[in-house]
């Protein structure tokens, strides 16, 4: 299994397979999976983003979904104001990163669990503010967005179009993460995560690197939020509840902190499992979906606490 993961051709094969999948899905009666695939892809993006904050830099963030929301709403508001869709996406990323930078400058001096609570607080502040500012966001009634279908030449099905766009974004995210992981920046992050004081003493500008990790995460979240908004053509505060932030944290931890492959698999499992159950479970068992989900969380954690596909460093740490 490890050999498969580490084989340098694996990512390319996986990418090719993923790209072809939607076109053959129709034939194997799996159109639903294209939709699910797109949603998994969005959470892969979110997971890759949070991976910078939590996985690499070790900052405990419980309010990440707020930035997904900011990205989504920025896109929605911009497009309704007439901004063309691609620019709305760029704007979404910029605005999200901006908010995140501001937040980071304010709270990053807090340690561990204090940071966790503050990020959770900010997540709720964002959601409630969106829900309350009816004049800007239409509050609980939500905002409708005009459709954007740039890939009409490939397929008229928006699920396929957005699946592919999200796939492209994920691929971009993976490349970016891999590059950063292997650079001075990445090593600085890991040093900070392992022992902040030692890192500082080694000359690493801890505050700057923390802020960098924190802010970069937001770029992913903003992009994911924008794509989400354009795909669903509708944003409402109910999509951005606290539970979703917990889900992204679980994806990163369960997948394997700091491991790109781990995050991707984590998203695949945690986000793919409930819809798969919805598809296949008979009517009597539908109510048990989340019970099973909770059980899976506990069992996987108990039996593979290092994560499903941990980074080699982590594996070495936790199983020696």
């Amino acid at each position: 299994m490890k050999k498969l993961i580490n084989n340098r051709w694996t990512p390319w094969i996986a990418l090719a397979a993923a790209a072809i999948f939607p076109f053959i899905a129709g034939a194997i009666d799996a159109n639903y999976l294209v939709r699910v695939g797109g949603v998994i892809g969005l959470f892969m993006l979110l997971g890759l983003g949070l991976n910078f904050t939590l996985g690499y830099a070790g900052l405990f963030d419980l309010g990440f979904i707020a930035f997904y929301a900011i990205g989504a709403y920025t896109t929605a508001i911009a497009m309704r104001a007439g901004v063309p869709a691609p620019f709305a996406l760029v704007l979404a990323v910029l605005v999200t990163v901006g908010f995140r930078a501001l937040l980071g400058l304010t709270i990053l001096r807090l340690r561990g669990d204090y940071l966790a609570v503050v990020t959770m607080g900010f997540g709720e502040i964002a959601r409630l503010t969106i829900n309350n500012l009816d004049a800007l966001t239409n509050g609980p009634k939500g905002l409708q967005i005009a459709p954007w279908r740039p890939l009409n030449f490939l397929s008229t099905d928006p699920n396929i179009q957005y699946y592919l766009m999200i796939l492209a974004a994920v691929a971009l995210g993976v490349v970016a993460s891999a590059r950063l992981e292997d650079s001075r920046v990445g090593r600085a992050w890991i040093a900070i995560r392992e022992d902040e004081i030692a890192a500082r003493l080694s000359g690493i500008p801890v505050r700057h690197y923390k802020l960098l990790a924190f802010t970069l995460s937001a770029a992913f979240a903003g992009l994911a939020g924008g794509l989400f908004a354009q795909w669903e053509q509708f944003v409402t505060p109910e999509s951005f509840v606290f539970w979703e932030s917990i889900l992204v944290v679980s994806i990163v931890v369960l997948g394997g902190m700091g491991s790109i492959a781990g995050v991707l698999v984590g998203a695949l499992v945690l986000v793919g499992f409930p819809p798969l159950m919805q598809w296949k479970l008979s009517a009597d068992w539908i109510n048990y979906r989340y019970l099973f989900f909770g059980l899976i969380l506990v069992l996987v954690t108990l039996f593979r606490p290092q994560g499903i596909l941990p980074s080699s460093r982590r594996e070495a740490e936790l199983t020696s």
Partner: protein, 299 residues
Amino acid sequence: MLVQQLINGLTLGAIYSLIALGYTLVYGILTMINFAHSEVLMLGAFMALGLAALLPAVFGTGLVGLAGMFILSMAGAGLINVIIERLAYRPLRHISRLAPLISAIGVSIILQNGVFIWVSTQSLPFPEPVVIGQIEVFGATISSLQVIILLASLILMGLLHFFVEHTKLGKAMRACSDDIQTAGLMGINSDYIIALTFFVGGALGGAAGVLYGMNYGSIKYNLGFLPGAKAFTAAVLGGIGNIRGAVLGGFILGFLEVLASGYIPNGAQWRDVIAFTVLIIVLLVRPSGLLGEKIAEKV
């Protein structure tokens, strides 16, 4: 109106404090956030309901019945917390800091959905063993229910204080909170003390659940989530790991919420935003919480 709002704040704060104590005790000893605590408090409420339903003659009526219902639910909740610790957290304790957290999240989901599937999907009315009366004081209406809640909370907090400060086991708990390895070297069985801590924390959560059910008159499978999250915030506000901090945080949060809803026009919908903003501001000024100690890190 101020008197009334103060009373409202006291009651709410008392309940938050009890829940916050559960979080803080566990955190103090394991530096772990027990995400499943909110479900333990929910189960405490359901156990009380179950007792009253099974043996209405014993638990459904009178002050004695009420006390009995209380004590048994507390014990039950404490026991559940211990079992959860044993099964879902202990194997992961030495492995990483975040693994028990994910496990706790899983346990929380299991418990919530379990109650949804096997107990009831609906809101169930909570038993009222004692007749509730109301009195007018300084232009405010106090119900005997609020008095009971306050009294029960204060008694429990007093008992906890006595236990932690003046008994041998309490001393052991404090020692483990300070430095679990050294405590072990001193001959304290840390596994046992951890289990005890979870029991006490769970019992307090269960008590809060019963009081919660009494205060609002009905319980539902998802009742734990919101107060749990808020009480956790309160515990952090006061300084996570610090018992007095949890109580302080709980009452401050209770009063904050009441003042936001009661005095700010349109405040009710911004109430949580205000509470969290205050939290952020407090933590910026005192990064370890109001009463939290600055943990010196040995380099």
